[in-house]
């Protein structure tokens, strides 16, 4: 399972600093506030989950962290350097797998290496990534031939093959059935443990956050503010019937405005 980390020493966990970031969109001339003064530091190698109601601005925050957009106010830093453009050192796995339908699974995974001209040296990494997500038999399939879970695994492999120091995950399992979701959560956990990247996971699933993260950050309704943070110290693998797990779940749901569960 440690092929990615073992064969290549370049994976270096990166820190992410979000400093007083506010963001708004202009829709038909009216200002539409999405993020309200968010400050958050993610240490190298940490796994942080962002929890918040849908539409509160979680994806927007990840787009800013990925460098796809610039914040209206505040700065985001990666290892101390301001984030201004996308960079393969920090990769975003989208809610939809967004595979390129005209590329086979293998070529989808190869996209990052190809775009940076690294394909000749690192071609072997693609086979490793394929076996990492257990899709060797589908290397030459086209995305339309894959199930939702397989497509999301390809998206994960497409990111990981670039040895990102920071992985931004935008509800990556949100659209999958619960069984597939469970097995992918386990895979992600193993990948994180063996590879050591820093992870920022957006989710609206409290249990997912509690199963995976070192820290859970709860966001308010739009415009998103940080409501609370919870440190999760329990060892992996975690169990849903653990008393601490149940207590934290109730507290977090309470923060999110859901009571009596």
């Amino acid at each position: 399972m440690s092929v990615l980390a073992a064969t290549d020493g370049t994976t270096r966990a990166l820190s992410l600093d979000i400093r007083s970031v506010s963001h708004h969109y202009d829709i038909a001339g009216t200002r539409f506030d999405v993020l309200d003064d968010i400050s958050l530091s993610v240490a190298p190698g940490e796994f942080v989950a962002l929890l918040g109601p849908s539409g509160c601005g979680k994806s927007t925050l990840l787009r800013l962290a990925a460098g796809l957009e610039a914040p209206r106010r505040g700065v985001l830093l990666e290892d101390g350097d301001q984030i201004v453009t996308p960079d393969p050192s920090r990769l975003l796995v989208f809610q939809d797998p967004t595979l390129f339908p005209w590329r086979t699974v293998r070529k989808n995974i190869a996209t990052g290496l190809e775009a940076r001209g690294l394909l000749p040296q690192k071609a072997h990494r693609i086979d490793e990534a394929l076996s990492l997500v257990r899709l060797e038999d589908f290397a030459d399939a086209y995305p339309r031939q894959l199930s939702g879970g397989m497509a999301q695994r390809v998206a994960l492999a497409r990111a990981l093959v670039n040895d990102p120091g920071l992985l931004l995950l935008d509800e990556p399992f949100g659209k999958l059935d619960s069984l597939t979701r469970l097995s992918l959560q386990n895979e992600l956990l193993k990948l994180w443990q063996t590879t050591g990247f820093t992870a920022l996971l957006v989710t609206h699933d409290v249990e997912e956050a509690l199963l995976l993260a070192n820290r859970v950050v709860v966001l308010s309704d739009r415009p998103a503010r940080i409501l609370a943070e919870f440190n999760i110290v329990a060892d992996y693998p975690r169990h849903r019937d653990d008393p601490d797990f149940i207590r934290l779940r109730r507290e977090i749901l309470h923060e999110l405005g859901v009571q009596n569960v």
């Binding site: 787009r63 990925a66 460098g67 796809l68 996308p86 960079d87 393969p88 920090r90 990769l91 975003l92 989208f94 939809d96 967004t98 390129f100 339908p101 005209w102 590329r103 086979t104 996209t111 990052g112 190809e114 775009a115 940076r116 086209y142 995305p143 339309r144 497409r158 990111a159 670039n162």
Partner: protein, 332 residues
């Protein structure tokens, strides 16, 4: 289970002992083909057309082949099945040849020069094949030069229009204004501006297919799902990669719509341009022969064009299916 095996066995024995079944459609077709041969050979032409013997021989050979097929079709396996699909067409063709022969050459009900019997067309190929070959060569050269330069330029312009806002701002209104003008409207002006009519014709063919390719490509590129660009950018893609490896493949479907439109326009313009200004080529041949009321030559040339054009269309379909393998079938 044993019952089933027995009936299967029984049928196998039955077919191998009694005579094999007959393909009746093949026999009916063969009757009409042989009748055509007999009428062509046996009755005299009202006005001689030539090649009657050759046509009779061809239809007789066809009739004998159909007769053989009628008796052996069920022993030919897959090949027999594939031929049998065309049974009704083979019958219709035989009937058509027979009526055609009878009403034109043999009775003169449909008179020369406006009508020609099938062996009249055959005579054209026999007598004029070398000139026709040269004309095919000239037409293909003109079409090839015009079409490929047109679609290449149209594609590049289309990508630029779909990609760059500045280019789109200036280019799109011009394209929208000029695009709907039939390319043939430019003929008088281009024959004046270009050094030779050959160059002018290339330009016209290129214009006719370049414009739909440009318009469709621009539409395709501008409609690409932005999420693909976001993914590619996070993976480290530069602008060149975004255009060539994301925008272009994502819009290939549209490009092919433009290519098919352009292909049909290019044929139309090719023939008109040749009729007006060329010294050789199939369009020129048609214009030249109709001036002498040699309508058999005109029809014979149209048959050649039909075969050439549909062949090229078929090639484009094959190319599209190859390039869009990743898509589910069922578009256009």
């Amino acid at each position: 289970m044993s019952d089933l095996a027995q009936t299967a066995d029984g049928r196998v024995t039955a077919t191998s002992v009694t005579s094999p079944p007959i393909w009746y459609q093949g026999l009916v077709a063969s009757v009409f083909w042989l009748l055509t041969a007999a009428v062509t050979w046996g009755l005299p032409d009202v006005i001689p057309w030539g090649s009657a013997g050759l046509f009779a021989a061809i239809t007789a050979a066809g009739g004998i082949a159909l007769l053989t097929l009628g008796l052996t079709r069920y022993r030919l396996g897959g090949l027999g099945d594939r031929i049998a699909v065309w049974g009704p067409w083979l019958i219709a063709l035989g009937v058509w040849f027979l009526l055609w022969e009878f009403t034109t050459a043999k009775t003169g009900w449909l008179p020369k020069p406006f009508f020609s019997p099938p062996h009249g067309l055959l005579q054209v190929y026999v007598a004029d094949w070398s000139r026709l070959l040269v004309c095919i060569g000239y037409s293909l050269r003109l079409w090839g030069l015009g079409f490929f330069s047109g679609i290449s330029l149209g594609f590049v312009i289309g990508v630029a229009l779909g990609w760059s806002h500045r280019f789109n701002y200036w280019g799109m209104p011009i394209l929208k204004l000029i695009g709907p003008v039939p390319a043939t409207a430019w003929i008088p002006a281009t024959f004046f501006f270009f050094p030779t009519t050959f160059h002018a014709s290339i330009f016209l063919v290129a214009l006719s297919c370049g414009i739909p390719v440009a318009i469709q490509t621009a539409a395709g590129v501008s409609q690409v799902n932005r999420a693909y660009y976001d993914v590619a950018r996070t993976l480290g893609a530069n602008e060149r990669f975004l255009v060539l490896k994301v925008a272009v493949p994502a819009s290939l479907n549209h490009v092919f719509v433009g290519l098919f439109m352009g292909l049909y326009y290019s044929f139309a313009v090719l023939v008109v341009a040749e009729m007006l200004g060329a010294k050789y080529g199939l369009g020129w041949y048609i214009a030249f022969q109709s001036a002498y009321s040699a309508y058999a030559n005109v029809y014979a040339t149209i048959v050649i064009m039909a075969v050439l054009c549909s062949g090229i269309v078929k090639l484009l379909f094959v190319a599209r299916d190859r390039l869009l393998l990743w898509q589910e079938r069922g578009l256009i």
